[in-house]
């Protein structure tokens, strides 16, 4: 009987040698687990966090009032009278303007991506799930906007409407909605064709329940990864619009606009004039690297 018993419960033989049962992680825990063990992404994620916090708490940490001019203190190099990063063409403190400017540059970059993710994502899921005429209608309109290179579409809309933060953000949202919708639609159509959707329907789940529990979970991954990669593109595009005078109006601080107005004084204090450019570069490269890290952590093949 003994061997029968053994046969009866073959698993036990292995149980003792198997390592202690590792804690079972849900999908999101495993993503964070992988992220925690990826030093490169952690470093850049903390830099991004630092930048966002610095912009958020600009009023508290900015050493000077970003709008206070002092003609005597015009275009001074780094470190001139506690102006760590020097002063701009009107003698305003560069560090303070950089912090306050961060608010606008970041929001002009991040907000349109968020809105585009919401609208584009929703349209994509609806189009992907409904299929048929609805899908064609949505996707073909998106294709029309897809036909414009992103810079061109942003410039066309902001240019026609006359610039300003609101128009700039609207233009960027319109630029990012089509690609976001396309990513969501592709992900949704792939998911919809999988068997567990049919299994869910077979267990009596309504379409809403299916979308909520099965579709969204799987679509959010690729959508979120793609959105994170769009942020750095958005920041560059937003600063480009300001550079062309289509974004923020003076005297409001914004990295793109500061870069443009400081072009005139590049011979007096080249380092100070480079500061906004460096800020744009660091922010966008950090967002890019964090996005790559996220993709590696989340995009787990079965």
């Amino acid at each position: 009987m003994a061997d029968i018993v053994a046969l009866d419960r073959p698993l036990d033989a292995f149980a003792e040698q198997a390592p202690p049962a590792t804690r079972v992680r849900g999908y999101w825990q495993s993503v964070f687990y992988r992220l925690r063990h990826d030093p490169v992404t952690l470093v850049f994620a903390s830099i991004v966090l630092l930048i966002v916090l610095a912009a958020l708490f600009a009023p508290l940490i900015a050493p000077f009032d970003p709008y206070k001019e002092s003609i005597v203190g015009r275009l001074k190099p780094f470190g001139w009278r506690e102006h760590l990063l020097g002063t701009d063409e009107l003698g305003r403190d560069m560090l303070s303007r950089l912090l306050y400017g961060g608010r606008i540059s970041l929001s002009m970059g991040v907000v349109p991506v968020l809105i585009a993710t919401l609208i584009g994502g929703m349209l994509g899921v609806i189009g992907g799930f409904a299929g048929g005429r609805v899908n064609t209608a949505i996707m073909r309109t998106m294709d029309v906007f897809y036909a414009f290179p992103s810079v061109l579409l942003a410039v066309a809309i902001a240019g026609a409407m006359g610039g300003g933060i609101g128009n700039g953000m609207l233009a960027l949202t319109l630029v990012f909605t089509p690609p976001m919708c396309r990513v969501a639609e592709t992900a949704t159509t792939q998911v919809r064709a999988l068997d567990y959707i049919e299994a869910a329907r077979a267990s009596g789940a309504s379409t809403a329940a299916i979308i909520r529990y099965h579709v969204l979970g799987n679509v959010l991954g690729p959508v979120f990864i793609y959105a994170s990669s769009l942020v750095s593109v958005a920041i560059l595009l937003a600063s480009g619009l300001s550079f062309l005078g289509l974004g923020v109006r003076p005297p409001t601080p914004d990295w793109g606009l500061m870069l443009s107005t400081l072009r005139q004084s590049i011979y007096v204090v080249p380092a100070v004039c480079a500061v906004p450019g460096v800020a744009i570069f660091i922010t966008s490269i950090c967002f890019n690297l964090v996005s790559d890290g996220l993709r590696a952590a989340m995009d787990v093949r079965m």
Binding site: A21, V24, Y27, Q29, L194, Y196, A202, S203, G204, N218
Partner: protein
């Protein structure tokens, strides 16, 4: 139909029709798909299929790909509505006014898919996939989870390994 079943398995309290009532009876099931473009012509996926499956019996349906096996399976679960024909599940007509509601049918019937990779939601722990059925049929989350844990244990899977 009158032969006596050998000693029937232990009575299951939910067994409505009694041990002798065939589990599933299909009578003249029909499902045709209109062909886009060519009006009038249609693909006769399932045309007048009838069979009976008794309790404890296993029915195998064999056919080349595209002969309507999957369509038939979907018809049995009412995932697609048959054009004609009748479905009797454990003595009650499915989707008939006095018979078994489709939702009730769904509680007792499920599909098992060929490709295991696509039959489980990768973003959901196994225990939650198992608990999804009872949860969607109205059970509270904790209760559904316990049901899932019991089932996993019953089939020899250690529940702790399959869900946080």
């Amino acid at each position: 139909m009158a032969e006596v079943i050998a000693l029937s398995p232990a009575l299951d309290p939910r067994d409505r029709g009694g041990p002798l009532q065939p589990m599933l009876i299909a009578r003249d099931l029909r499902k045709h798909f209109p062909v886009k473009g060519a009006r009038g012509k249609s693909v006769q996926a399932v045309d007048g299929v009838s069979f009976t499956v008794r309790k404890g019996e296993t029915l195998g349906i064999v056919g080349e790909s595209g002969c309507g096996k999957t369509t038939l399976a979907r018809l049995l679960l009412h995932l697609i509505v048959p054009d004609a024909g009748e479905l009797i599940f454990d003595g009650e007509a499915v989707n008939a006014p006095d018979g078994l509601s489709v939702n009730a049918l769904r509680r007792q019937v499920q599909m098992v898919f060929q490709d295991s990779y696509s039959s489980l939601n990768p973003r959901m722990p196994i225990r939650d996939s198992v608990a999804f059925g009872p949860f969607i049929q109205g059970r509270e989350k904790p209760e559904a989870r316990n049901i899932a844990r019991d089932i996993l244990a019953k089939v020899g899977l250690d529940p702790d390994l399959f869900g946080p």
